[in-house]
């Protein structure tokens, strides 16, 4: 075992977190929790960026992470606003009951 942790270890951790996020989106019925799972996926991707920034000696990855965070914040604000509006109209957080998009 070497002294420093290799890039692959970070990437595998990131992949695992991402897949957990995907699974969460699939199995949960509560919109709010689905939303949290999406945040999990975003964080997994952020980890990849930071890891690459470290191992490629380039700060660009960290900058991208900041942008991702800003976009995530915007997304959360909008998403939660939608959830509040939805709750007001449907009195439900169950994703199965939200099917107004049906054509």
């Amino acid at each position: 075992m070497t002294a420093t942790v290799p890039l692959n270890a970070y990437l595998i951790l990131s992949a695992a977190l991402f897949v957990i996020g995907v699974a969460g989106v699939l199995i949960r019925r509560n919109v709010l929790v689905i939303f949290m799972a999406i945040e999990l996926m975003l964080n997994a991707v952020n980890l990849t960026f930071v890891a690459f920034a470290r191992f490629l000696h380039s700060m660009d990855g960290q900058i991208i992470v900041l942008f991702v965070m800003a976009v995530a914040a915007a997304e959360v604000a909008i998403g939660l606003a939608i959830i509040i509006a939805l709750h007001r109209n449907k009195e439900s957080m169950n994703v199965d009951e939200i099917n107004l998009l049906k054509g």
Binding site: L26, V95, D96, N99, L100, L101, K102
Partner: protein, 630 residues
């Protein structure tokens, strides 16, 4: 400055057409008649400037700006004022102004007074664009513009079915000629890479080989356009019907100016035609045959305006005859004199129609001279000029054309021209004697309110009569008069022009004059002294009479040979092809889309988890491809 000449009437047209109804009638009239006056003034000023230049370099140009610029090809909104354009612009503005003034009286009681003057001004603007353009494309803009105005003015009284269909007929027949002209213009762009007069006409001898098929076809395409606009065989049929329009329109558009656009086009393209002897020969023969043909029809018509209309076709034939034998200046000379006396004839006829409250049948007139002295006098001057009696204008120009025809060695064409001269004398004076002399055949009601026209109509008559009597002298002596020397540098040197010896020229002129006088004498004997004799004559040659009277059945021929097959096939196509195949395929595609949509709609469950799952499966497949494809 030159570009102002067509712009001013255009502005007048817009003002009178858009807000004319809201302003006092007098103001509208002043604007409508003021714009041609300004244009005339500017034309005269430009003309004077032209005269101060040396004879060989008389040319004024001005450009408003670029119109089309595409690669090497460019067209500008450019105007050109050379001796040829100058003559045309002066005739158009001068005659146009007089007819505007005449229309004040003639149209006074019409409820669409403003529309009439707006269109008349618009016509004048387009006509000036046509004669002042410095390239073929801008000329074509004016060409189509005058065609449009002609259509609108023929159908001015559109509530009358005859007027509406006459307008349509004029428009459609002109399309045939214009179609050929467009093809010619495109070909010209391909050959010369330009439509500019100066470029095309200067390069012509190097680009086109003398007598080549290309030169002949190109000039013939232009000439077909000219036959449409200038009412020559076989596209003349619209002009007689165009008499459904108001009489000032007939005078301005269908006699003095627009129909001469074809003459102008051929004269302007003289360097091109000079390279195509075959085309010139065709131009000459079409002109000569049209002259005789139209004169023969004019002999037996009974509608005062139609007789003059056929006379116009006949005189235009003379002009083409002159152009065809290379006597370009003579053709333009006749164009100029014709503009005066034909406008005079039409306006006099209009005065008669005005006095008789719309009656146009000369069999119901007679003896009008006692009541309409000014009109009768001016009509007589016009008739003498048209018949080519010395010293009136028509004599000098017609004589010069026929002299050139003879000098160029076209014997048969000279005979045709001389016969036409006799026919012209006959039909002009048949009209004069039947309408103005002899016993009155009017009913009492008509007689009671017979009145001479107001001053605004009489003034143009008198001025035009003066012009018709004297304007011919600018071309005296033949071949080297003021006009010919002025126009000379514009046209390529022609081998034929004025090479006949003076003595033989005088003999020829006297011979033609004798023919014309013979026609007049015949008219006097048959129609004034003893009207029964004309009927006896008609009875003796029934076939000939009927042929003339029914205008050689050409309208009927076109109806069966062209119009009806076109309409029938169009109807068949619309029923079979359009309704079944076009609509069918369109509806079929629409139905297909609808069916596919209703199938695909089942995928749209509205269940968000389903969507997420689809996205995931898609992402997995894509990622698999990316990760393991190499």
């Amino acid at each position: 400055m030159i570009w102002l000449i067509p712009i001013i009437p255009l502005a007048g047209s817009l003002i009178v057409g858009l807000i004319g109804r809201r302003m006092p009638r007098t103001l509208a009239t002043v604007i409508a008649c003021g714009t041609p006056s300004l244009s005339l003034l500017l034309s005269v000023m430009a003309f004077v400037r032209l005269l101060q230049m040396p004879a060989e370099g008389r040319l004024l140009r001005s450009s408003i700006g670029s119109w089309i610029a595409s690669g090497d090809f460019s067209v500008s909104f450019g105007f050109l004022f050379d001796p040829l354009s100058a003559i045309m612009a002066l005739v158009v503005c001068g005659v146009g102004l007089l007819i505007h003034i005449y229309s004040i009286g003639y149209m006074a009681e019409d409820r669409d007074y403003h529309r009439f003057f707006a269109l008349l001004n618009l016509f004048l603007a387009e006509m000036l664009v046509l004669v002042l353009a410095d390239n073929y494309l801008l000329l074509f803009v004016g060409w189509e513009g005058v065609g449009l105005c002609s259509y609108l003015l023929i159908g001015f009284w559109f509530e009358r079915p005859a007027a509406a269909s006459a307008g349509t007929k004029a428009f459609l027949v002109n399309r045939i000629g214009d179609g050929a002209m467009v093809v010619g213009l495109i070909w010209m762009i391909l050959l010369f890479g330009s439509v500019d007069f100066q470029t095309v006409l200067t390069d012509a001898p190097t680009v086109l080989v003398y007598g080549s098929v290309t030169a002949s076809l190109l000039t013939l395409l232009l000439f077909i356009g000219a036959t449409g606009k200038s009412a020559q065989l076989p596209l003349y049929v619209w002009l007689p019907d165009a008499m459904e329009g108001p009489t000032p329109v007939s005078a301005l558009i269908h006699a003095a100016t627009m129909v001469t656009a074809g003459i102008y086009l051929v004269a302007r393209s003289a360097p091109l035609f000079q390279l195509a002897p075959v085309s010139l020969e065709i131009v000459a023969w079409v002109g000569g045959l049209t002259a005789l043909y139209a004169a023969s029809i004019a002999l037996v018509q009974t509608d005062i305006k139609r007789i003059i209309a056929y006379s116009t076709i006949s005189q235009l034939g003379y002009m083409f005859l002159g152009l065809g034998v290379g006597a370009y200046a003579a053709g333009i000379f006749h164009l100029m004199t014709h503009a005066f006396f034909k406008a005079l004839l039409f306006l006099s006829a209009g005065s008669v129609i005005h006095a008789l409250a719309g009656e146009q049948d000369i069999r119901k007139m007679g003896g009008l001279r006692q009541f309409l002295r000014v009109t009768a006098g001016s009509f007589l001057v016009g008739a003498l000029a048209n018949a080519g009696i010395a010293p009136f204008a028509g004599f000098w120009s017609k004589d010069e054309i026929l002299a050139a025809v003879y000098a160029s060695g076209h014997g048969p064409l000279w005979v045709i021209g001389a016969l036409t001269a006799a026919g012209t004398g006959l039909y002009m004076f048949r009209l004069y004697f039947l309408a103005f002399e002899g016993k009155s055949r009017l009913d009492a009601h008509m007689l009671s309110h017979l009145h001479e026209a107001p001053w605004s109509m009489r003034l143009p008559l008198v001025l035009l009569a003066l012009g018709s009597a004297t304007v011919g002298f600018v071309g005296v002596p033949p071949g080297s008069g003021l006009l010919q020397r002025f126009l000379g540098p514009v046209f390529p040197a022609s081998a034929h022009e004025a090479t006949a010896e003076p003595t033989s020229e005088v003999v020829l002129a006297v011979a033609v004059l004798a023919m014309a006088v013979g026609g007049i004498v015949m008219a006097y004997r048959y129609y004034l002294l003893d009207p029964q004799r004309s009927e006896a004559l008609a009875a003796r040659y029934p076939a000939l009479y009927r042929t003339f009277f029914h205008k050689y059945w050409v309208d009927e021929l076109y109806e069966t040979a062209v119009v009806r097959p076109t309409v029938t096939s169009a109807r068949t196509l619309s029923e079979l092809f359009d309704a079944r195949i076009v609509d069918g395929s369109v509806n079929g595609i629409a139905a297909l889309a609808a069916r596919a949509g209703s199938l695909l709609r089942r995928l749209q469950t509205g269940q968000v988890p389903t969507y997420i799952l689809s996205i995931l499966v898609g992402a997995v497949v894509l990622l698999g491809y990316l990760a393991f494809s190499g």
